[in-house]
Symmetry: C2
Subunit: 398 residues, 2 copies
């Protein structure tokens, strides 16, 4: 929360992209025009605001307008999954300007994967700088990265991530900070996806749950406008909640009956294989459903019911406004979504479900980098970070 | 979060009760001593800070010290349950100065119950003012109240509360605002209890879950230092999560298999009655356990296991540091707690459970008013409210 009348509050207003005069800003903030002028000078020096050519006539002579300067700075965004690394450059509105995706197993370890990520980010950044017109600087203002495992919020390090051998305690944040000399924000992939989906499809929604159904199952939970992390960064671990439908199935975590052991993408594939329908990955399941294979459609519906049973509990516990189902499997999401809805609505209390929306994700393959970019932008423009940024930033061009 | 160097930040420092000189405060805030002096003047005028007689010698001449003035203002706190109304006056540290408890069913409706509450609060306030020594003013700075049902956070009104006939949409906040002319904060009773327990037993813990096992079952969830409310104020509704152990039992909510239908205090009493051991209330269950009745000890352990199954899911979803079991039933909490721990630790993942504490509540019958008082104090001293309070407050005495 920015202090009333601060540079941060003025920047927050201008971040919608609309240019405004000093008079507009004085009215909107309730501050004297001299105070507004001082704040604008600080923001202009930092390269975050520019005087525009547009001028508004308000009966008297035209006044200069000020706009959020999204051209001089960029944000780098990374989305690491079990088997992919998507890297991107975005502007300060979170708009992706360029991106790459590589098929690289996270299990190759941090040196290999982060080496690739740094190469890709450097190349993307050069590409965007070359394409820029005029005097744009394209300085890196922040980096956001999502990892497929729990992340300790204080250190930005993965903590005992089950599918990331070699990454436990690895200082992801420092590697990126040292390369780009700017704040770096690290979080779990499902959390980042929740932020991306909210930005793209549900702006303003304060209570949203994003459920990623891919190889495994995880969730990003936004409650009261903020992501939940928990004491160890392990909040949202939906895949290892007990599911009666999963019963005694062994789970890769070492326990039995986890939701993921029945309804995760790899488990669905294994179940189909047992039924004589060879499937080795969630991608194979998607292809089978696309081809109209009945058993795989049934398997998805059953998985949806089991996920919905757990989400019914989540509805009582979090009282979300929106539940979004995402991940690779929802490319053919209808049978799964039908099962999810069936279970949620048969359990949920009227109060918690009367305004609840249950739907599939609208952000696609770039949802992860969109979310990582939003995470970084929102954090770096927060009251906590902005003052430091204003001290650090070099004087603006022009 | 208070802006660095603001009056709010200085007050936040002084709220620990230790007097400090201008020099101390300049060092702690990094502000010039003249700025600190200005802020202290504002806070002294508002009656929130006083110059103390204590003086610290730092090699040179003694300097005046400034202290949080907890004597001139009070906070009113109310804890309404299914069958009781506890009212209290606290100081600005949350210390309860006087309190009353009446046996009044919430189902009597808002006119009756709130009429009683206002009478009690007025009487308690007079009592505290009469007992005050010196020039203390004892102005009411804020009111906090907990209700046994969901509360919409924007309006402070109960929303479709199942056990509060006549209260749906009742403007609790306005009734108290009109009487006392100060900010009023309303929340669900389990939420308020979570705040009280944290203040009393777990200061500094950011991720705490408080489970109230009384007539029914509800939970207050603090995640990342903040209470979860959800879209309708219905978050934490643990009692109506499906429990396999409850199976097909009908619940008072109209559904079947809710955790509360097996493990709530009234349900335990009903189960014992069916077994030929007459029990009409959670209080009877407590008395039976105290008398060493084996069936009731077994019933509590079984209830604990069922609660623990749902809490194992909560451990994966919220990753709390502390789970506290409270409510009337934990006066004889050991069998219940043993069952809870048995289930949680047989399910929880190593990462989420390695630092987890599961324990019974330490705050007693006054936990509700302690929590309501903390809620009001923390809110009224937040950046959001303090500026308004500084404008409104009359000049201090002396």
């Amino acid at each position: 929360m920015h202090q009333p009348g601060s540079a941060g509050e003025i920047l927050e207003i201008l971040r919608d992209g609309t240019p405004r005069t000093k008079r507009d800003l004085a009215l909107l903030t309730g501050q004297a025009r001299t105070t507004v002028a001082q704040r604008l000078a600080v923001l202009t020096d930092a390269g975050l605001v520019r005087e525009t050519d547009e001028a508004t006539a308000t009966g008297g002579r035209p006044s200069a307008a000020y706009a959020f300067n999204a051209d001089d700075k960029i944000v780098l965004a990374v989305d690491l999954g079990a088997n992919h690394a998507t890297c991107a450059v975005s502007d300060l509105f979170g708009e992706v300007l360029a991106h790459t995706t590589d098929a690289v197993p996270i299990a190759e370890g941090p040196q290999t994967v982060m080496g690739l990520v740094l190469d890709r980010l450097d190349a993307l950044r050069s590409q965007v700088v070359e394409l820029s017109v005029g005097p744009a600087v394209r300085e890196v203002m922040a980096v956001g990265i999502g990892l497929p495992g729990p992340v300790a919020q204080d250190s930005g390090r993965p903590t005992s991530p089950p599918i990331m051998p070699g990454w436990d305690g690895y200082d992801v944040r420092r590697v990126l900070e040292e390369r780009y000399g700017c704040p770096v924000f690290v979080d779990n992939d499902a959390n980042v996806l929740a932020l991306g989906e909210r930005a793209v499809a549900w702006p303003g929604v304060q209570d949203l749950m994003y459920v990623k159904v891919a190889t495994g199952i995880g969730a990003g939970i936004i409650s009261g406008g903020r992501l939940l992390h928990g004491a160890e960064g392990a909040a949202g671990d939906l895949g290892h909640v007990y599911s009666a439908a999963a019963g005694e199935r062994p789970c890769r975590c070492g326990n039995r009956g986890c939701l993921e052991s029945l309804a995760g993408g790899m488990s669905i594939a294994a179940t189909l294989t047992e039924q004589g329908i060879p499937a080795g990955s969630p991608r194979d399941v998607v292809d089978l459903v696309r081809a109209g294979n009945l058993e795989s459609i049934h398997a998805l519906r059953e998985a949806g019911r089991a996920i919905g049973d757990v989400l019914a509990a989540c509805t009582a516990l979090f009282n979300p406004r929106v539940i979004v189902i995402g991940g690779e499997i929802v490319e053919v999401g209808e049978p799964l979504l039908a099962g999810v809805r069936e279970s949620i609505y048969s359990r949920a209390l009227p109060l918690a479900s009367r305004n609840l929306r249950v739907t599939v994700a609208q952000s696609g393959a770039l949802g992860g980098v969109q979310g990582a970019s939003r995470m970084a932008i929102d954090a770096v423009f927060s009251a906590e970070h902005l003052d430091a940024a204003l001290d650090r930033a070099p004087a603006a061009v022009g």
